[in-house]
């Protein structure tokens, strides 16, 4: 057994144990912390499996966004542990049987596929030059399968609209008008924020030829927005309803507009004219970054806005 394999096994075992303990932790706060660690280990898996784009996304999402959301939500809804009702033998065994059956069947099927080849990967690498970007993952995301990515930006937009619907509001209401963060937190944020914005910008810029891109950049920026929210000033709260909507919608519509340009000029939706492909993609990425970051901040800050709850009774 090589050292690399030992590392893989340790990682997988750790991942499984942490996942189980996170779900079943008696205290939900522990569950949330363990879930953050789960995200960390998953990011290590992506590093190990040569998927830096995913590791970047996982690091930003798991640590910065989902983690903060969970910790914050658990404070509100994490009621003290209630003993689960004593289950009958069947009630205990049946879920295990179902879960183990599904997992074993899926893993078994996947194991048989070890030596299959002939995936799309080679084709993508061969044609990446036609796409207008150099990084294959970005080429798949924004060019070859740009249609998926456009719809994915739509999913985030829908989530934002739906959260506004859950809250029955059209603007973000700051949850507490004034809360005093300790000076050290504010001071640290004063350094972390510009660093975060720089790193976000760097990831956006580097995405065309190296791992990174709009989503990773947006996730880092959104994490910074969440940091600011936590310090008592939700960054979107000062916006009017129309401006907020414009921010949320601009990524999806810019993508759509770029697609229509292709439709008019090249007679194919989402075909970027060869001469302008590079900068069209840049414009799309910029707009998408803004929208995704805004949506993520809204999903965080909108979810925790208690003023609306109190108004609703």
């Amino acid at each position: 057994m090589t050292a690399g394999l030992l590392f893989d096994i340790a990682l997988v075992v750790g991942l499984t144990i942490i996942a189980f303990r996170a779900i079943h932790a008696p205290d939900l706060f522990v569950g949330a912390v363990l879930y953050i660690v789960f995200g960390l280990l998953l990011a290590l898996v992506w590093v190990r499996l040569n998927a830096p784009d995913l590791a970047l996304a996982e690091a930003a999402i798991g640590a910065g966004i989902t983690g903060a959301m969970l910790l914050d939500a658990v404070r509100q809804v994490g009621s003290p542990a209630r003993r689960a009702p004593v289950l009958t033998r069947i009630g205990r065994v049946a879920p295990w049987a179902g879960a183990v059956g599904l997992g074993a069947v899926a893993a078994g099927a996947l194991v048989t596929l070890e030596d299959r080849g002939g995936t799309l990967g080679e084709m993508v690498r061969g044609r990446v030059a036609e796409s207008g970007v150099d990084h294959p993952v970005t080429a798949v995301l924004l060019v070859f399968r740009g249609y998926d990515t456009w719809l994915e930006v739509g999913v985030l937009l829908v989530a934002a609209i739906a959260v506004l619907g859950v809250r029955r509001t059209r603007v973000l209401v700051p949850s507490e008008p004034s809360s005093e963060a300790p000076p050290i937190a504010t001071a640290a944020a004063g350094v972390l924020l510009p660093a975060g914005v720089l790193i976000g910008g760097f990831l956006l810029w580097t995405g065309s030829h190296a791992p990174g891109g709009a989503f990773q950049a947006a996730a880092v920026l959104a994490a910074m927005g969440i940091l600011v929210s936590l310090l008592g000033r939700p960054p979107l709260a000062s916006l009017s309803a129309l401006r907020l909507r414009l921010l949320l919608v601009c990524g999806f519509t810019t993508f759509l507009a770029a697609g229509v340009v292709g439709l008019l000029v090249e007679d194919a939706f989402l075909r970027y004219p060869a001469a302008a492909a590079g900068w069209i993609i840049t414009v799309i990425e910029l707009a998408v970054t803004v929208s995704i970051a805004a949506s993520l901040v809204l999903l965080f800050a909108g979810g925790r806005d208690r003023a609306a709850d109190e108004a609703a009774g």
Partner: protein
């Protein structure tokens, strides 16, 4: 014969790993939150610093070295801040909320 640069890297990384080990040991064995915090901070700053130093010796470009140093600088800042916040909340009693584990 090993390149002296490689020897230095090995030494730095090993020492860094030792600090991580010591930090974890401290977190597991020290009696209360504040002393454990102390252990974590040492491990954070020194362990990561040494690993960064060791790897910087191997780096191919100046840019890579700068990036590594930036990582360490941010880690120092983040760790100092979070250490203070955790300690602060522990001392104020919030963090002391005993929770079933």
């Amino acid at each position: 014969m090993m390149d002296p640069r490689d020897v230095l890297t090995v030494l730095c990384v090993l020492l860094g790993a030792f600090f991580f080990f010591a930090g974890t040991l401290g977190v597991l064995r020290f009696p209360d939150a504040i002393t454990r915090l102390h252990a974590v901070t040492k491990a954070d700053n020194l362990g990561l610093g040494l690993v960064v130093l060791g790897l910087a010796l191997q780096a191919a470009s100046l840019l890579a070295v700068l990036k590594l140093l930036l990582i360490w600088a941010i880690a120092l800042l983040a760790s100092a801040t979070s250490c203070f916040l955790v300690a602060d909340s522990a001392l104020r009693g919030q963090g002391e909320r005993e929770s079933a584990g």
